[in-house]
């Protein structure tokens, strides 16, 4: 399953703007972007790719139990993340590293999770409403929908004020679309007419199972049965991701009802560091998507706008610095104290937890100060 006649593409794989009837309504959002904003899109994509590759290396060197690469999906993520407004709430799955970074999360906090020192990593309230990762596939779509219901009940969306109305965005993948929770989230969102964007990154593979097993029809058609309009974009086109997300977010935030975007992209790496994609997919397929790389095409576009070698050289240096800093700080991450096991299991005192905390402390103390 790849591009269809309905796929919105604003920037071709060759790096030139596409003039199409389907894309016309989104062009104004691109025209409003400054050169600095466009360069920031690129900067984020390049830096996160360097971070992601360094994280993969760290996992291979035994510094993490697992890594979840975002390689290849940078445009879908960067474009949609920059389309959000500060008041928006974002519920990621677990591969949205650059979205987290754009909303102020230190990417090493993602590594901490994979390094086994936390199940969360950050407080959404202190990180521009970027909620924590959810590992169970699709569960977060319901949390996002409930959050958006609360926003609506509070009158914090649907007033018509673009700078105040809150939109809620939830990210999920093609595999997740088969989960009951995703269908239930679409049902609740439609019933309560939430100000919400369902952002599906169709990276074509749910570990080893192709998207064709999840759905015989393009996934952007799925929400229409729930009464939610869906649109398909070239997810490797950062301009399409930005413009289509921006338009849908602003329409949903002022009360236009929930929206759904299917971003066609490709997971260039493994599902996680634990799998071997050569067992289930062809080199030809990987090659096809390699030729549609999100970063290469955007570099061509930026050069056509006047970005010079110095800009790209400086950016490469910044990306290398971030990777080196990631390595350095990953190696400095230390395990939490034993006490962590018992903290925050409950919000209020709990006798069984208190007893077990005390028991462990006494047990540890029984070995004496030499232990």
């Amino acid at each position: 399953m790849s591009y269809t006649a309905a796929t919105i593409q604003l920037l071709s794989p060759e790096g030139s703007l596409v003039d199409s009837d389907a894309g016309a309504e989104y062009r104004q959002y691109i025209d409003e972007l400054t050169d600095d904003q466009l360069r920031e899109f690129h900067r984020q994509m390049v830096v996160i790719r360097a971070f992601d590759m360094e994280a993969t290396n760290l996992q291979r060197q035994g510094q993490m139990a697992l890594w979840v690469p975002s390689l290849g999906q940078e445009a879908a993520q960067v474009g949609s993340a920059f389309a959000t407004r500060p008041q928006d709430h974002i519920f990621p799955a677990y591969r949205e590293h650059v979205i987290a970074r754009i909303r102020g999360v230190d990417p090493v906090d993602i590594i901490r999770m994979m390094r086994g020192v936390t199940h969360g990593g950050w407080n959404p309230a202190e990180h521009n409403n970027l909620h924590i990762y959810t590992l169970v596939i699709g569960s977060q779509t319901l949390h996002a929908t409930g959050y958006a219901m609360g926003v609506k009940f509070d009158g914090a969306s649907g007033t018509g004020d673009l700078d105040k109305d809150i939109a809620t965005v939830v990210y999920f993948g093609d595999g997740a679309t088969s989960q009951g929770d995703v269908s239930e989230a679409l049902i609740f969102a439609a019933s309560y007419q939430t100000s919400q964007l369902f952002f599906l990154q169709n990276n074509h593979w749910a570990i080893s199972v192709p998207v064709t097993r999840q759905s015989p029809v393009p996934l952007y058609l799925r929400p229409s049965g729930f009464g939610i309009p869906g649109v398909q974009i070239d997810g490797n086109d950062v301009l399409a991701s930005y413009a289509v997300s921006r338009k849908n977010l602003d329409e949903t935030r002022v009360g236009g009802g929930p929206r759904f975007i299917e971003a066609l992209t490709y997971r260039m790496g493994a599902h996680t560091s634990s799998d071997d994609p050569t067992k289930y997919r062809t080199n030809a397929e990987v090659q096809f998507w390699q030729e549609r790389d999100p970063i290469a095409r955007f570099e061509t576009y930026l050069r056509s706008l006047g970005a010079d070698d110095a800009f790209f050289a400086e950016l490469a240096e910044e990306a290398a610095d971030v990777a080196a800093d990631t390595r350095k700080r990953t190696l400095e991450v230390v395990p939490p104290p034993n006490e962590f096991i018992f903290q925050n299991v409950y919000s209020e005192p709990h006798p069984r937890i208190d007893e077990q905390r005390e028991w462990l402390a006494q047990y540890e103390a029984s070995f004496g100060s030499d232990a």
Binding site: T118, H119, G120, N123, P124, A125, E126, H131, I132, T134, V136, S139, T141, L142, H143, A144, T145, G146, Y147, A148, M149, G150, V151, F153, D154, G180, D181, E184, A185, I187, F188, S191, Q343, N344, V345, Y346, S347, E348, H350, P351, R352
Partner: protein, 326 residues
């Protein structure tokens, strides 16, 4: 003192109304809980009184109800979800155990999950499959959840309000065979904290303990035993997780004998936990092994056999006799 007489279902209704009056962030969610008032009429009148914005007749999807309640709690609401019958809770099991129960831990305390899940449970109502079970042990096994079950209208009135006030998720198991009998409710004075075990009847020779509808059976057994000259102390567990051990241990230290009864299957159950812990902590006070009287380790049978499956006073007394024979 202000005493009103009402059935347990109405006591929960009154407790919900009070909680909704006290805190505008409390909202109810569930299937058929609006104009119908729920299949057991527990929420009767609340939709008319508080509006459809606070009493949400949701789509028919348990995972959706729990999952969106989580999002609402993240937004600052205090949702009270009704699961129509205990046998329908499993589509929501993942959201309860993998999400709701663990989100405070996962967030390292940055957020709380003040959600109550009301679950009508238990047999004695002659209903079809999935309408008479007792799944409380699944939830008691999950860290992050609190699990309670009232047995009287007075406890129901207060415990629902305390559960809603809790910043932790509470599984609130309602003994549906006790929905209709009336009892006294003191609407001014809260008798006990949410997680306290209560002495329902004092006695001296054997302690029997249970929760929910089983407490009624235990009191019947104590009445019969008294006529036969045996003094039974009846404890109402009230809180399944955490368990309030001290009143249980104090009673066992006094009587030396303990029988634990429940409708649920006995294998790896609340009764198992009580038996193990009492044995660990009151070994030298015990005159006999802790005995369990439970549902069989079978599916809940068709209703014409429920009186065979569910422990009654005679089965409790059979265990009491065995305990006394040691």
């Amino acid at each position: 003192m202000s005493i009103e007489t009402m059935p347990l279902s109405k006591a929960i209704n009154a407790g919900l109304r009070k909680a909704m009056q006290d805190d505008p962030k409390v909202l109810l969610m569930g299937e058929d809980i609006g104009p119908l008032g729920g299949v057991f009429r527990v929420t009767e009148g609340l939709s008319a009184e508080f509006g459809t914005g606070r009493v949400l007749d949701t789509p028919l999807a348990e995972s959706g109800i729990i999952g969106t309640a989580i999002g609402l709690a993240m937004r600052g609401y205090r949702p009270v979800c009704e699961i129509q019958f205990e046998g329908f809770i499993y589509p929501g099991f993942d959201q309860i155990t993998s999400q709701l129960a663990k989100l405070t831990f996962r967030h390292e305390g940055a957020l709380s999950m003040p959600i109550v899940i009301r679950v009508p449970y238990g047999g004695h109502i002659g209903a079809v499959e999935h309408h008479q079970e007792s799944p409380e042990a699944y939830f008691a096994h999950t860290a992050g959840l609190r699990v309670v079950s009232p047995s009287t209208p007075n406890d129901a009135y207060w415990m629902i309000q305390e559960s809603i006030a809790s910043n932790d998720p509470v599984m609130f198991f309602e003994p549906k065979s006790r929905y209709w009998p009336r009892g006294e409710v003191d609407v001014e004075r809260n008798p006990l904290p949410l997680h306290a075990t209560a002495v329902a009847r004092e006695g001296s020779e054997v302690t029997v303990i249970g929760h929910g509808a089983m407490v009624t059976t235990l009191l019947q057994a104590a009445d019969i035993a008294a006529e036969e000259g045996t003094s039974i102390e009846v404890l109402d567990l009230r809180s399944i997780s955490p368990i309030d051990w001290e009143p249980i241990l104090a009673s066992v230290r006094k009587t030396g004998r303990l029988v634990v009864a429940q409708e649920a299957p006995g294998f790896v159950s609340v009764a198992s936990e009580i038996a193990a812990t009492v044995t660990e902590r009151a070994f030298y006070s015990l005159e006999s092994p802790v005995l369990r009287v439970t549902g069989f380790d079978t599916p809940f049978p068709p209703a014409k056999l429920e009186s065979v499956y569910l422990p009654d006073a005679d089965r409790v007394l059979e265990a009491v006799d065995r305990a006394l024979a040691y």
